[in-house]
Subunit: 344 residues, 4 copies
């Protein structure tokens, strides 16, 4: 029987990508798609790529019948899911939050970075961090999944094989990350205009970015101890894709890095370890749920260099959410997620 799915906040980039994936998913019935601003408007009027695929209007979140869904995805600004999730959970609806409300276990730390008080600490405590490569079994059983951030997914998948194996001198880990502009959302803002972000490149958030505590939490869990991390995000003059370039000093430079990665990810359907010497391209995962990773040890250096790419809207958001839904509802984990990336 089809999973009845609801989407709260379907007008952003995460929302449209979720709609694209769920519309093509054989086991899902798109029951409810909400938007305060666009209620009454056909989804396919806002997103013409969905003409013929999603033939229903956005509805108000309140009249939405979200409580009759099997699962509700929140593709909303931070702070929305924590308001609505408790009532849904009580009604037996499972929840996947693509925002940040349930990602950080330390709620005081969360408040500091997100500038809000948390509305439902009790519910937050039961949330499972939705990185299947780390928490698959817990996700299967979860009522509430905190879907990881886009940068955190790429950085964690690039570093956990080294950290889990205790291979890294964890004092000076560097994550130099670059993201396409879709990560900044669909709200009109000056710095993401084509004339500002096109033919241009710069870092941002060098003084501290919200994804830093989430990444650190994941890395420290994997390492079983503190990780000294510098994380610098940059804005790429393109739409989709994240590239994480990761530098980790090795305790023992003689380790076979390629084998470490291949072994760690041997059974992972959405992590592809490239042959030695490779340089993964973001376009090789455009529109796809794959993460592709290459590991190098630069000449004359005792550092590991990891290159990891993902589509920030897929494995970095909507695709990983669908993967989590598949796990939660005992569907095949890869269902609806196997279309090859679109290249060129």
């Amino acid at each position: 029987m089809a999973i009845r799915a609801g989407i709260v906040g379907g007008t952003g980039y995460t929302g449209v990508e979720l709609l694209r994936l769920l519309a093509a998913h054989p086991g899902v019935d798109l029951a409810v798609i909400t938007s305060r601003g666009k209620a009454g408007v056909a989804v396919s009027e806002v997103f013409p790529n969905l003409r013929g695929h999603v033939d229903q209007p956005f509805v108000e979140p309140d009249e939405a019948g979200l409580g009759e869904c099997d699962v509700v995805f929140f593709a909303t600004p931070n702070g929305t899911a924590m308001e609505m999730a408790p009532a849904l959970l009580e009604q037996g609806v499972r929840v996947i939050d693509l925002g940040a409300d349930f990602r950080i276990r330390d709620l005081e730390l969360w408040s500091r970075w997100y500038g809000m008080t948390h509305h439902c600490p009790a519910v937050a405590a039961e949330a499972v961090y939705g990185l299947p490569e780390r928490h698959r079994e817990a996700i299967r059983a979860a009522r509430l999944v905190a879907n990881p951030g886009c940068y955190p997914t790429a950085v964690q998948l690039g570093l956990i094989p080294l950290l889990e194996a205790g291979l890294v001198d964890t004092r000076h880990v560097v994550a130099d990350a670059k993201s396409g502009a879709s990560g900044a959302g669909r709200q009109p803002r000056q710095h993401t205009l084509l004339c500002e972000a096109g033919e241009n490149f710069h870092a941002y958030g060098a003084g501290g970015h919200r994804h830093l505590p989430e990444i650190r939490q994941g890395l420290e869990e994997a390492a079983g101890g503190e990780v000294g991390l510098v994380f610098v995000p940059h804005l790429l003059p393109m739409i989709r894709g994240i590239h994480a370039t990761l530098y980790a000093p090795l305790r023992d430079p003689a380790v076979d890095l390629q084998a470490v990665f291949e072994t760690r990810y041997a059974d992972e359907p959405f992590v592809d370890v490239l042959p030695p010497g490779s340089h993964p391209e973001t376009r090789s995962v455009r529109g796809s749920n794959m993460v592709r990773i290459a590991v190098h040890r630069p000449e004359d250096s005792d550092m590991a260099l990891v290159l990891a790419v993902e589509d920030n809207l897929v494995k970095g958001a909507a695709g990983q959410a669908v993967q989590n839904m598949n796990l939660m509802f005992a569907r095949p984990e890869t269902e609806g997620l196997l279309a090859p990336a679109v290249l060129p």
Copy 2:
């Protein structure tokens, strides 16, 4: 039973798109993929988006066992298909040429534009022009299909409703067409370098472009008479997408243009007539086989203005080829072609 498909010339953009579509097609077995230059190399090494989807090497065309295929696609430079097709047809293999060898019925005209003598006039005579919206029944029965060019597909689909209905003063039709750079192919050429074609826009071929006789042939068939056409192609600073802006003086400006288009395409699975007042975007069909069309009558003018978009690599090449294959092998016409466009 699966259709055994062969692809000759799989290393270009048309080739990789054909591979992407056929790999995901439930009724096709990718039997043979040839390349002279890359024989022995894994397909997925050249196109990393296909890792896990196409797990075989390119082979030499001669050792290729093409004769054992049910259908062979030619994604080759012009002139190749006409050399190899006759032998394949004799062996009972059906052929779809994505090049131009069989598109122009008047072979003298063909020779003038393509600068070669035709190798197999007899075979050429039986080729069916693979525009399903005009020749669906003939395609079903065809042994040899000439897959239309990218510009010709968009321009013909935008104009034939008017021409078939005799609505146009055919002396001064203008087709101002714009294409993404993937239409120029994957061969390294200076003018399609990112530093030449990026942040830049220009017309080309104003003195005459090879797609002109193909377009005129199709339009004149639809009109049942001569069509005076000016066709000007332009290079867009982007990868995928064709936008045809079409201007046609009307015999009777009072005609209901919207109704003409909606009626003509009511049953077409891959032509989407947008509501009145629309401006179709190329990205609304990126990676998809749809053509989206809007028709306007500009204020104070007796002209019809038609806006048509397609993905030049899909409906303008590989997708239409798969659509033709589906027709030729009595599969559902839309099979393998229904994934929504990737937006943004």
Copy 3:
């Protein structure tokens, strides 16, 4: 002695381009740069390319000492210049409006397209349309110059040689125009986000665009009679540049079009007629005040095809304003405007 220049509304793209040109102009003193939103902020904080070149803050328009300037440029939304210009003119300040307030002679027509009542019809009557190639002598003497729109500059310069010479059957002229996104301004709007306008192409305003009456006014003046024009603008996935593709049926197809253009523009410093067979590229004028034009007669057609490129922010806005200032203050017309375009 230096011209004391004021700029009202310096925070948009037209503003920053004007600042770039005037900062490098040897005969200009940048006396006042106003902005309501950014008053008190250093200009170079908003536009870091001007660090070391423009070392002053934006000021409020009212405290601005605009009345002590020799010339004031309005780089403001439509409707601002008509409010402020009369007082400045009375104080003996000359005014160049880069907006649309004084471009249309028929104020009723203006009101219909711009949705406002005109504040100063008397002043509007004396405004000179600042296209030097048509109105050079009047500009020299003008107190108030209406700087042409970006599309109107390219389309007029591309067609006036033919229209002035009476060569065109004026019933079916087509102007298919394409503009970079900087023409849409620096205000955050959804459709000009990189993720919306990048890798995408579409027409807009097919039902009527504000530049249409301005273009028609100019063309009809040149033709000495009515001109039936269809004008369709399109948004290019790039920052700077306009390409106008112009189609004009010829009364006598035997005319030497190349000679017509070369003769007409022989003495124009900013119009470059390319050799026969050329396709001008927008990047060949990026950052420069040049318009480059090629004229073709497509095979088997009685139409003239004109291809014209400009930088919409320079000859289409700020550069033409500086050219007009040079004329008004008897400076060499090309002063400060001769830097070559930046390519690639």
Copy 4:
């Protein structure tokens, strides 16, 4: 009296940028521009932005009268300058090589990275490394200047204030660098096609890049000892601009980094230290000779983070060459190099 300048190899991106800058330089006479492939063709036919600015043809290098120039710039593939420079120097011509022939002092090391034997070790020994911020006085007196590479300029200028002052623990310095595609040249190559490099991002040369030994040489000179450097270049989907993101563990995290940079570059005309908290944008130096630098100390970290941007074709190539020429011929160092960057 004007400097008579010759350019060998004027058809690449470095060449056209040099022509753009020298054409606008008040103290230079462009005497000779050579190209083997384009001899006899007008320079402005290849580069239409130079129409009206450079009105002469390319000539063969042998008939070139290079010996009568005051200075000859080599904008050629590696290996050319070392063949031609000795004879020119003997004739009293001064030479600026924009290639790599004279950048590495250790010729054995040079041979290993560039795969050639050096033709003129004696001449190489007298070459001055043309980074004015380090070697200004030597450049003034030099007969032969080795113009630095694009990455090496950005990385060195970003790190030398820290290294000269002995502030860095030099064992684990990371240079994560990103370049626009113009750094890869104008030769048609597949990976720099718009359809390959556009909407895409990846690292390259992770196993070792030719700029590594050049960078290390410069950093070690500044540090007065060994520097353990990992240098990873990446290809940006845009034309111009380099962004170097530099990570350097500090010996004493309490140092005032901002003051270190401001003091070091106080008198440098082409290095702009941004206010604390800044994120320099590549577009802020597009077409300009400026390098803009910001320095941060990320929270909870003992690392310095330096962000440095340059235009790879200007300060990273042609502009720095002109700066060196100005020094060599006792012209004002900034002459011809003060035009503001073009933004947007």
